[in-house]
């Protein structure tokens, strides 16, 4: 009897949870789609009511056809690739600089306090304001765009990593010190892993800033990419391409955020939260 129980119970449980998982997925997909269907409907209706030309107010059907053209010519894919690569490198550079700076600042607290107004000052200067200077220094293209993305990624990663370091229990650091760790070994074994949930939150925020910065920078300082397409299409009286570019950006962000950033953040924060509670 006992054998029967244990043999049948898990299978029933597993079946139920699998179908529950399916319905949860399906319902979340519906919930995600409904507002967008609504948006397209409003767009179509307003186009009919306003009666403006496709140049001033491109219709959904035309934009859809434009997508077809852009995909067929390979432009959309190649521009998307270009833009995403710049974004990826920019976020990587910003994060790669911010985390060591956060660790260094945490070693020298009085110095760090002295630096905070400076950090605030630079946070306030929008990266687009830097672009004229960046172009002057590096010319048009990859470097300038990566730099402006790195710039906006840097600050949230720095702030969140530092707050993550601040939450590490003092005893963890002291334990490492009394095991023979020097300053850099404390950073490597305690501060870096201990502040990871903060860093991940910072990267997600920074990646969002960086994504917007990407488009802005590409409008000004690039000859390729989605931002370039959006800006140049208007000048060539192809407004539908501008709209197609805008939609692409929105969709890309939704995908990246849902498929990568959010799950990673959730996993880290949850896991570390569990660990911290049970220290």
């Amino acid at each position: 009897m006992v054998g029967l129980d244990t043999a049948t119970l898990p299978r029933v449980g597993a079946g139920r949870s699998r179908s529950a998982w399916f319905w949860a997925r399906a319902s979340s997909l519906v919930k995600l789609t409904v507002p967008f269907v609504f948006l397209v409907a409003v767009w179509q209706m307003s186009a009919l009511v306003l009666g403006l030309s496709n140049y001033l107010y491109p219709r959904p059907a035309l934009v859809l056809r434009t997508f077809g053209v852009l995909v067929a010519h390979g432009v959309l894919l190649s521009y998307t690739e270009t833009s995403m690569w710049r974004w990826f490198v920019g976020v990587g550079v910003g994060t790669g600089v911010a985390i060591p700076v956060a660790l260094a600042l945490s070693f020298y607290r009085p110095f760090a306090r002295m630096m905070f107004p400076l950090i605030n000052f630079f946070t306030a200067i929008v990266e687009l304001a830097w672009i004229p200077l960046f172009v002057l220094w590096f010319g048009y293209g990859f470097k300038v765009i990566v730099l402006s993305i790195a710039y906006v990624t840097f600050f949230p990663v720095l702030a969140n990593t530092m707050s993550g370091i601040g939450q590490i229990p003092k005893a963890s650091v002291q334990a490492a010190q009394t095991l023979g760790a020097n300053r850099w070994q404390v950073a490597l074994h305690v501060l870096l892993p201990g502040s990871l949930p903060g860093s991940v939150t910072g990267v997600r925020t920074g990646a969002g800033y960086g994504f917007r910065s990407l488009i802005g920078a590409e409008m000004i300082a690039a000859q390729s990419g989605l931002g370039y397409m959006i800006f140049e299409s208007r000048a060539n009286q192809l407004t539908q391409r501008t709209v197609a570019g805008m939609i692409t950006i929105g969709v890309l962000w939704l995908l990246v955020d849902r498929l990568y950033l959010r799950p990673i953040e959730k996993a880290t924060v949850e896991r570390w939260g569990l660990l911290r509670r049970a220290r």
Binding site: T178, L179, G180, P193
Partner: protein, 278 residues
């Protein structure tokens, strides 16, 4: 517990000397300097098990942190084997009350940290870690994470981690205060067993007279405000027999005389409360 050859063969612990150590802090309100501790002087000989006993707030943990090098003394010096202490180092290992295991590392990696920091390869360090995990009676737990362990197991792992760094002096800051009474008894007996085999010098901070009576070669009772050495008690009962039922009355006798001393050591206000309550 099985005896692990290479662990038992380790050289004896070092001697510790605390000379006129004081700790002062500046009170936030009127900016006056308050003496929290000292002057305190102590000599702990190599291989001795010393308990620092006192009411809460007497500065015994502060003294331990100063010995560890984690807190600079306002005045006075600390030396291990006649070498002055200038900061934290692996020669003075600390077992903290709340374990302070690194939650993102497995138990084995936690214990291996000391050897790793001392330059051992990952393989060597893991091997040492496994030896010490066996010493504390948890050879199977290496792959688990601290949050998967009970409080008692975590404290065993913390002891293993501190010992694996091969300190000259083992400093323990109320290490068993957070575990349940039954586990505490087991851990105390295990600690005495490990101490007997490793010939480690131990400074053990506690506010429990029973714990001090069970563990110590010598008990130093501290008074509060400022924390000073009030009285010293050598405990002559052999360690092998202290946990046996027959010895219970004699241990209780030691505990009673410690308690009398602690009562005197308590500041007046709390002493009144203590006499009211029984």
């Amino acid at each position: 517990m099985p005896v692990v050859g290479s662990v038992a063969a380790k050289p004896a612990g070092g001697s510790l000397e605390v000379n006129d150590v004081c700790h002062e802090y500046v009170r936030a309100g009127d900016k006056t300097a308050v003496i929290a501790l000292g002057p305190v002087s102590l000599q702990v000989s190599a291989g001795e098990f010393l308990c620092l006993l006192g009411p809460s707030g007497c500065g015994k943990s502060t003294l331990l942190m100063i010995i560890a090098g984690l807190l600079p003394p306002t005045r006075g010096t600390v030396a291990v084997d006649a070498v002055p202490v200038t900061g934290p180092s692996r020669e003075r290992g600390v077992v903290f009350q709340d374990y302070a295991l690194l939650p993102w590392k497995t138990v084995r990696s936690n214990v291996a940290l000391g050897p790793r920091l001392a330059g051992a390869s990952r393989r060597e360090a893991n091997q040492i870690a496994d030896e010490y995990l066996e010493l504390v009676g948890m050879p199977q737990a290496g792959d688990r994470y601290p949050h998967e362990l009970s409080g008692g197991m975590r404290q065993r792992a913390a002891v293993a981690r501190t010992l694996a760094a091969k300190p000259k002096v083992l400093l323990m800051d109320e290490p068993f205060a957070a575990v349940d009474a039954q586990t505490r008894g087991v851990l105390q007996e295990e600690l005495v067993g490990i101490w007997a085999r490793t010939a480690q010098t131990v400074v053990f901070v506690t506010h429990s007279v029973e714990e001090a009576a069970l563990l110590a070669d010598r008990v130093v009772v501290m008074s509060s405000a400022p924390g000073r050495v009030q009285e010293e008690f050598p405990v002559t009962l052999p360690h092998q027999v202290r946990f046996s039922r027959e010895s219970a009355p004699r241990v209780a006798e030691v505990a009673a005389s410690l308690l009398a001393s602690v009562r005197v050591a308590q500041p007046r206000q709390s002493r009144q409360v203590a006499s009211w309550s029984g």
